[in-house]
């Protein structure tokens, strides 16, 4: 110890302190951060509780013979009653004109403005949360972390200066926000407008009086079918005074609500499938890098065989074969789709991870750990895995974009996610005949959004790659980002 210089000995001493001691010694920033974070969470606590309970209810309902789904669902309903800042009840946009003023909308504003305010607030809230997480990281870095500098700081700094990557990050974040806040973002709800339009009533101004009508009838009166008479375009009101930011579908249903709900299912399938295939690919990459030889050859053979079958065709075949089974009915068929994706997609990711994993396995510290008598499992987990997690992020991001395209492609063909559940590809399909007519929005808007989101995921992947390893410029794994050609 005596040979250490002053600052180094401080560092070594502090190293022994656990994080809690450091927090207690200097609590101010942590308290401020925690307070603001709690505040941010509190305004949305009701929605958060409702969503998590509803997920639990779905899970309980899906597993045969476990627990009581109804009681969990009742709890979820109760949680839905807790007032939240960004809900449609706080800032309602579904009102009607009674001849002199708007009734039932936020501050008596036009439905369009009320909706816009809610959307703006939701996005402001989401970005505030993101910013606060980043502030938390910065404060931790300056106030609590022992080391002044770690290699990860450079990665973060490089990402901060990477405009293209930041663009991707912003797009992806907005997409995720859309998926998370889907019920609050739509100008109307899935249940009211898409699923059970005839069990809901709306009031509207006929021109001389206020009348009521089932939503289903209103939908029939606001169809978009190509000619100027039957068309409700983007950013317009229909004859029933309802506002449609993206226009309506040929069936008269609201396109924005459809897209927002569809983004949720795309994201769930995408995350689940990429998570699963990343898990499989990582385990296999570590195994083939550590054992090499026979294990590696066997895995090459297996992955070549899976890749030998065109991914999209395999998806079609498996979704047809598994459509009627119990697993095929979970979450409108989304769950089995994610499984199929993972099953057919892991070889692409494994290929990309195998190279980096092989490089790590050649390092001296792996040899050292082996001669120390550590078990293969520990070596793979502790001494090899940390070096390939970065690549996992890159390829995961790109594969997610591809998964979104492929899911949309399948539902465009009428496969995959079961029909009443909204999915982007189905909107493209519904608007197929109307592209060059007044109802161009039905196909064009969802397609443009898919393009934007996929570009965002690719850009984010590029940004992370450049941040982690500025030297590399590999085009590998790009095929994985294409969703099997959909």
């Amino acid at each position: 110890m005596s040979s250490l210089t002053g600052s180094e000995s401080v560092l070594a001493e502090a190293d022994a302190d656990p994080l809690t001691d450091r927090l207690l010694a200097h609590p101010r920033p942590a308290v401020i951060w925690g307070g603001v974070a709690a505040l941010l969470l509190l305004v949305e606590a009701g929605a958060l509780a409702e969503v998590s309970l509803r997920l639990l209810a779905d899970l309980v309902g899906a597993l045969p013979g476990v627990g009581d789904a109804a009681s969990v669902a009742a709890l979820a309903d109760a949680a839905g009653g807790v007032p939240t800042l960004l809900s449609r009840e706080t800032i309602p946009n579904q009102g009607y004109w009674n001849g002199s003023a708007y009734v039932g909308t936020f501050l008596g504003l036009q439905p369009a403005w009320a909706w816009l305010i809610r959307v703006a607030l939701v996005y402001a809230y989401a970005f505030a949360c993101l910013l606060w997480v980043y502030v938390g990281f910065e404060w931790y870095r300056t106030h609590y972390r022992v080391a002044d500098w770690t290699p990860r700081d450079d990665t973060v700094d490089r990402l901060r200066g990477h405009r293209w990557g930041l663009f991707g990050l912003a797009v992806v974040f907005m997409f995720v926000t859309m998926a998370v806040f889907a019920p609050a973002l739509g100008p109307t709800t899935v249940d009211q407008n898409l699923a059970n339009p005839y069990s809901h009533q709306i009031s509207y101004w006929t021109g001389s009086e206020v009348a009521t009508s089932p939503v289903g009838d209103a939908n029939l009166g606001s169809r978009s079918q190509g000619n100027a008479q039957t068309n409700v375009g983007p950013w317009s009101y229909d004859d029933f005074g309802r506002f449609h930011p993206f226009g309506t579908l040929p069936s008269g249903k609201d396109l924005f609500t459809f897209i927002a709900a569809g983004s949720r299912i795309s994201l769930v399938i995408g995350l689940l499938s990429v998570g699963l295939s990343a898990g499989v690919a990582t385990v296999f990459a570590l195994l083939s890098a550590y054992y090499k030889g026979r294990v590696d050859d066997g895995l090459i053979l297996l992955s070549d065989s899976v890749m030998g079958m065109p991914q999209l065709l395999l998806l079609i075949m498996l979704s047809v074969v598994l459509a009627g089974t119990w697993i095929g009915n979970l979450y409108s068929g989304a769950f089995v789709l994610a499984l199929i994706f993972a099953g057919t997609g892991w070889p692409y990711m494994w290929r990309s991870l195998r190279g980096p994993a092989l490089q790590v396995s050649e390092q001296e510290w792996v040899d050292a750990a082996r001669s120390f008598g550590q078990t293969p499992g520990t070596i793979m987990r502790k001494h090899m895995l940390p070096y390939i997690t970065g690549y996992l992020l890159i390829y995961g991001s790109m594969t997610l974009g591809g998964a979104i395209i492929a899911i949309a492609g399948l539902s465009f063909l009428g496969l995959g996610v079961d029909p009443p559940t909204p999915e982007w590809g189905r909107a493209v399909n519904a608007g197929q005949e109307y592209v060059t007519t007044a109802s161009w929005h039905i196909s064009l808007i969802p397609g443009a959004l898919i393009t934007l989101v996929v570009t965002g995921f690719n850009a984010m992947g590029d940004g992370i790659r450049d941040a982690i390893d500025p030297e590399s410029d590999s085009a590998e794994g790009e095929a994985g980002g294409r969703g099997g050609g959909a």
Binding site: I300, L301, L302, D304, S305, V306, M307, G308, M309, P310, Q311, L312, L313, L314, I316, M317, L318, V320, V321, L322, G324, T325, G401, I405, A408, G409, F412, L413, G414, L415, G425, V428, Q432, E433, V435, T436, S443, L444, P446, G447, I450, T451, L452, V454, T455, N458, A459, D473, A475, E478, A479, R482, G483, G484, G485, A486
Partner: protein, 348 residues
């Protein structure tokens, strides 16, 4: 390892891949949760025990699985593809494939060609003029082009061409070459049946068939085009910073020779595996593009068989696709060993 041994190893490797892929297909189709025999019959026919048993008999489902498996594999490997049930009932699959495959090959050929002849020059152009406005424009459009879903692009292009007279100011159907059958439908390839040289001797028909397939090929090649552009750009940038380029410059090689002889030729090497691996995407994408443009090709056939539940046909077609992919793979390896003499030495 010499390149011939490398090539031999790759060839040998494709045999177990073919076997494993086909076996997986058999397992999914015949041991999966769906009864293929009940599926190929209509509802009323399923009630009829006699018909049902006959179908099981003919599909070989009442035999032990192992025997059935061996029989099925033997049939496929001897290229006896059996017959269809629901789709074009009772026709011979071999004949069906021979009928549908040329259209897909024609489509694939043109989409690869378009991708190569548009994507690579654009990428090289962007690479040679890096960090100019033209470069940014080309790069960004390449990235966006790559992210566009094929089926969406197909829908838009089709609608544009169908109403081209009012929207674009010219009628696509009569533009340059007269196409009475409109934008959608099959390209007329029958004039080449048995006489492949007709491709050159009857240029009128070739042009008509080309024009017919062009919109679909453009859509199908779009993703590859964007990819090849990106990689072409990086390849040029990397080649430009090589030392031998400096040497050539110092020797006083003219700019034109520098670009054509030293930069572009070497930048082509990393593009070869990209072009062939894009072919994988073409097969998958052909399902969507063929169904939008109404081309009766292999992808269309596969999709129809899948949604109508003709599972035996789905399995057989999957085998054909696996063979197709392996052939492309081997072609890539051969091409690569010819172009890049370093192949095989690195892998060892």
């Amino acid at each position: 390892m010499s390149k011939w041994r490398y090539l031999g190893k790759r060839l040998l490797m494709s045999i177990p891949v073919l076997w494993l892929g086909t076996s997986m297909t058999w397992f999914i189709i015949f041991q999966g949760p769906i009864d293929p025999a009940a599926n190929v019959l209509s509802n009323t026919q399923t009630q009829n025990t006699e018909r049902y048993e006959a179908a099981r008999e003919q599909l070989g489902l009442n035999r032990p699985p192992l025997e059935h498996y061996l029989d099925w594999m033997a049939n496929l490997f001897t290229l006896d593809l059996g017959q269809t049930w629901l789709l074009y009932p009772g026709s011979n699959v071999n004949a069906l494939v021979m009928d549908f495959l040329p259209r897909t090959v024609w489509l694939g050929f043109w989409s690869v060609l378009i991708a190569v002849f548009v994507g690579i020059p654009l990428g090289f152009y962007a690479g040679l003029r890096s960090n100019t406005l033209a470069d940014y424009l080309a790069s960004v459009s390449g990235i966006v082009w790559r992210a566009m879903p094929n089926f969406w692009l197909a829908v838009i292009l089709l609608s544009l061409l169908v109403s081209s007279e009012t929207l674009l100011g010219f009628d696509w159907d009569t533009f340059l070459i007269d196409l009475p059958s409109g934008v959608t439908g099959n390209p007329q390839l029958s004039y080449m049946a048995g006489r492949p040289w007709a491709l050159l001797t009857q240029p009128g028909e070739t042009l008509a068939a080309t024009k017919k397939i062009l919109p679909a090929a453009l859509v199908l090649g779009s993703a590859s085009m964007g990819n090849e552009m990106r990689i072409g750009r990086t390849a040029v940038l990397e080649t430009r910073s090589q030392k031998y380029i400096d040497l050539a410059k110092a020797k006083g090689v003219s700019d034109r020779a520098l670009v054509w002889k030293h930069i572009l030729r070497n930048a082509l090497v990393p593009l070869v595996p990209i072009i062939t691996s894009e072919a994988f995407l073409l097969i998958g994408g052909s399902v969507l593009v063929e169904s939008v443009f109404g081309i009766q090709g292999m992808g269309f056939l596969f999709f129809k068989a899948a949604i109508q539940g003709d599972l035996p046909l789905v399995g057989t077609l999957m085998f054909v696709f696996i063979v197709l992919m392996l052939v492309i793979n081997i072609a890539q390896d051969i091409l690569y060993t010819i172009i890049d003499p370093r192949v095989g030495y690195e892998e060892a």
